[in-house]
């Protein structure tokens, strides 16, 4: 990430009160960007957003992505050069219970954002780059062991996955019809989508996620109970995909044409570890006699999980994951111990961001 590029850049982040959005705000602020945010209030309590007082860093508008008029007004007023769209209903389980709300937020929310951008551009707001953040679950699950590529079929069995596949398709429709590169001179906008999986990092209080559940248990001084010890999941620190999004934004801004498409940002292949492996490491790092037990029941070895093939981002953007699963877990534990001892959490986040940015990796 290029600090000279980001210094003073006007960036609008939607959904910036969420876990990932909060980390993005911190990362952008560390780079000197001028960030505004459009989001509902933080989805959890406590939240990284409140603990780090991100509303002091980022001029914040608490509003709903389903409210087109307010969104339109915000974009006209903020005049962003770069927009990163993260506002979403992000939970698969919630989507089963309330599919309509998930579709409204994830599909029509994307339509609203792109419609507002289109109108703002007509009114002379020089928006240069829009990044729509979707998910690795936007791919039609073929139950195969290989990583998904950006040109694989989209689709999904559950409402969440399907809503994100639709968000991708809607983005493509706007890109082809209203932000077509052939008319670039007239609109000046390039649009891309980014697809990453579940990420981990300090300050996540989401429900039904392994690491947040474990941290909550450890903070209470209780024993962790795990149900699917052999389940293999990919583990990735939140800063890895976020740095990819920003790298992409730099490219889109400077010379959008080769980059206005979908991009995968997933962990390297060795990022897949069993739940038990991860929990064992969490306990070792936590110390203090932290322990876990495996709940009774039938524990099946899972054959494979959904993987992303990230060759394109590596080859064309020069992006590479920097923190492997061990480092990622260590960072989460460092953050959680700071939280337990009432340390300055903003300072911990900024320290981790510095470490991340200064880390040189051999490719």
């Amino acid at each position: 990430m290029n600090k000279d590029f980001w210094k003073g850049k006007k960036v609008l982040v939607t959904g910036h009160t969420g876990f990932k959005g909060s980390w993005l705000c911190l990362l952008l602020s560390s780079l000197g960007a001028n960030v505004t945010g459009y989001s509902l209030r933080p989805p959890t309590s406590p939240s990284l957003f409140e603990l780090c007082h991100i509303d002091r860093l980022v001029s914040t508008r608490y509003a709903d992505i389903r409210d087109l008029n307010t969104l339109q007004a915000a974009i006209l007023e903020d005049k962003p050069e770069i927009i990163i769209h993260m506002a979403a209903q992000p939970l698969v389980r919630a989507s089963y219970l309330n599919p309509v709300e998930t579709f409204e937020i994830n599909i029509m929310g994307t339509v609203h954002l792109l419609e507002a951008v289109r109108n703002a551009v007509h009114k002379g707001i020089p928006i240069k780059a829009v990044i729509n953040v979707t998910t690795d679950k936007c791919y039609e699950n073929k139950e195969w062991p290989w990583g998904y590529r950006e040109n694989d079929a989209l689709g999904g069995y559950d409402p969440y996955s399907s809503s994100k596949a639709c968000s991708e398709l809607v983005t493509d429709a706007y890109r082809k019809s209203f932000f077509n590169i052939e008319n670039y001179e007239s609109h000046g906008v390039v649009v891309a989508t980014v697809r990453a999986g579940n990420v981990i990092g300090g300050g996540d209080w989401a429900a039904d996620r392994l690491i947040p559940d474990c941290i909550r248990t450890l903070l209470k001084g209780e024993k962790i109970k795990i149900r699917n010890p052999y389940a293999i999941r990919p583990w990735q620190h939140v800063l890895d995909p976020l740095s990819g999004y920003l790298l992409l934004a730099e490219k889109l801004y400077a010379d959008g044409k080769p980059y206005m498409e979908g991009w995968n940002f997933g962990p390297d292949d060795d990022g897949g570890k069993t739940v038990e492996w991860v929990v064992k490491r969490l306990c070792a790092k936590w110390g203090n006699g932290a322990a876990y037990e495996i709940e009774n029941g039938l524990h099946l070895h899972e054959a494979h999980y959904l993987k992303l093939d990230c060759s394109k981002a590596k080859f064309k953007l020069g992006w590479h994951p920097k923190w492997n699963v061990e480092s990622a877990i260590d960072k989460v534990m460092e953050w959680s111990q700071a939280y337990q001892s009432n340390a300055d959490l903003m300072a911990i986040c900024m320290k981790q961001i510095d470490e991340y940015q200064n880390l040189k990796i051999d490719v």
Binding site: L68, Y96, P99, V100, F103, E104, I107, M108, V111, H112, E115, E140, A153, L154, G155, G156, Y157, D158, P159, S161, S162, A165, C166, L169, V170, D172, A173, Y174, K176, S177, F178
Partner: protein, 324 residues
């Protein structure tokens, strides 16, 4: 009269549209009790509207309003739903994508959501060949990815994907029809190529082709399309095919220029088409394989293109004569 439909409570969206009106005509003949959703004032021709509305229970409301649909299903004890309403004009979608997405995507999830909370036995969602988007390998079969690239296609790809989700997640007994261009008696949408060309010729004007005339498409006569939808509804339970999409096509793709030439010949006209050669947001070649429908449903079209076209031309001649 098909005994299957006798006294069955059927809900039809888009019942004042081209497909909807034809569907209601066929369902009425088969003895079904029909409830139809009519947007706004509905039809422009008031005498036609009176006659039409006398045959069905009319529900006034918009597809975007979930409660209207829920209420209609409940009040009329609906057991079969045909969702054929859509904003179906490609040009309008390019002009107003927001409204097209509202109607075609939200409208579809509203129908599905209402059906999820009501004990319906079968739901048919009319999708389109357009939901496939652009593919270099043809003909399109049901396993092809749905990858629309322009607003209208994308609205159809999304509605289709969401429909499949309602089967996988909630086991909703739903099937999807994917038609090519449907033509025939009663299509009052003169943006479409066949009605437009027939009208021009009736008015002694040269038919205008916006593209270069080489676009290749499927054309299916409306009566075949309607029978396909009804057959699919009849078979969902028996064949255990819930959740599946079916293409319906007469598998005889034609270029726009071929279609226009056939109409000119069919109307004994010596007018020459005007080819504007304008760039449009449309896929160059697109047509369907109906193998799955043939193999699984035993479906085949009754009308070949020329027979369907003859009936269509006769209908428009009468229609324009009646307008004076």
């Amino acid at each position: 009269m098909k005994p299957f439909w006798k006294d069955r409570n059927v809900f039809v969206t888009g019942c004042t549209g081209f497909l909807g009106r034809y569907l209601i005509k066929e369902l009425t003949k088969s003895g079904a009790n029909i409830t139809g959703l009519i947007r706004g004032k509905g039809l422009d021709s008031s005498t036609f509207q009176e006659e039409f509305c006398s045959k069905i229970n009319v529900v006034h409301g918009r597809l975007e309003d979930l409660s209207v649909i829920q209420e209609a299903l409940k009040k009329n004890a609906i057991d079969t739903v045909f969702h054929v309403a859509a904003q179906s004009i490609v040009g309008t979608a390019n002009q107003n994508p927001l409204q097209t997405f509202e109607t075609n995507i939200r409208g579809t999830w509203n129908v599905l959501e209402a059906c999820r909370h009501h004990p319906v036995k079968r739901v048919i969602i009319a999708s389109s060949e357009k939901s496939y988007g652009n593919h270099s390998s043809l003909p399109l079969d049901e396993s092809f990815p749905l990858q629309g690239r322009y607003p209208y296609d994308v609205s159809k790809s999304c509605a289709d994907l969401i429909t499949q989700t309602y089967f996988y997640t909630y086991q909703l007994p739903v099937c999807i029809t994917r038609f090519g261009n449907v033509f025939g008696d009663g299509d009052l949408n003169f943006n479409r190529i066949i009605p437009q060309v027939i009208r021009s010729i009736i008015h002694h004007e040269s038919p205008v082709i916006k593209s270069d005339g080489t676009f290749v498409r499927d054309y299916l006569y409306v009566e075949d399309a309607i029978h396909a939808m009804m057959l699919l509804a009849e078979k969902i339970e028996e064949l255990g095919i819930a959740g599946e999409p079916f293409n319906f096509s007469n598998e005889n793709p034609l270029s726009v220029l071929e279609v226009v030439t056939k109409i000119l010949n069919g109307m004994d006209s010596d007018l020459q088409p005007i080819i504007l050669n304008l760039a449009t947001n449309e896929t160059q070649r697109q047509y369907l394989s109906a193998k799955k429908a043939r193999d699984i449903l035993g479906w085949k079209p009754i009308f070949d293109f020329d027979t369907g076209l003859k009936r269509t031309i006769d209908w428009y001649k009468e229609y324009f004569t009646s307008l004076g």
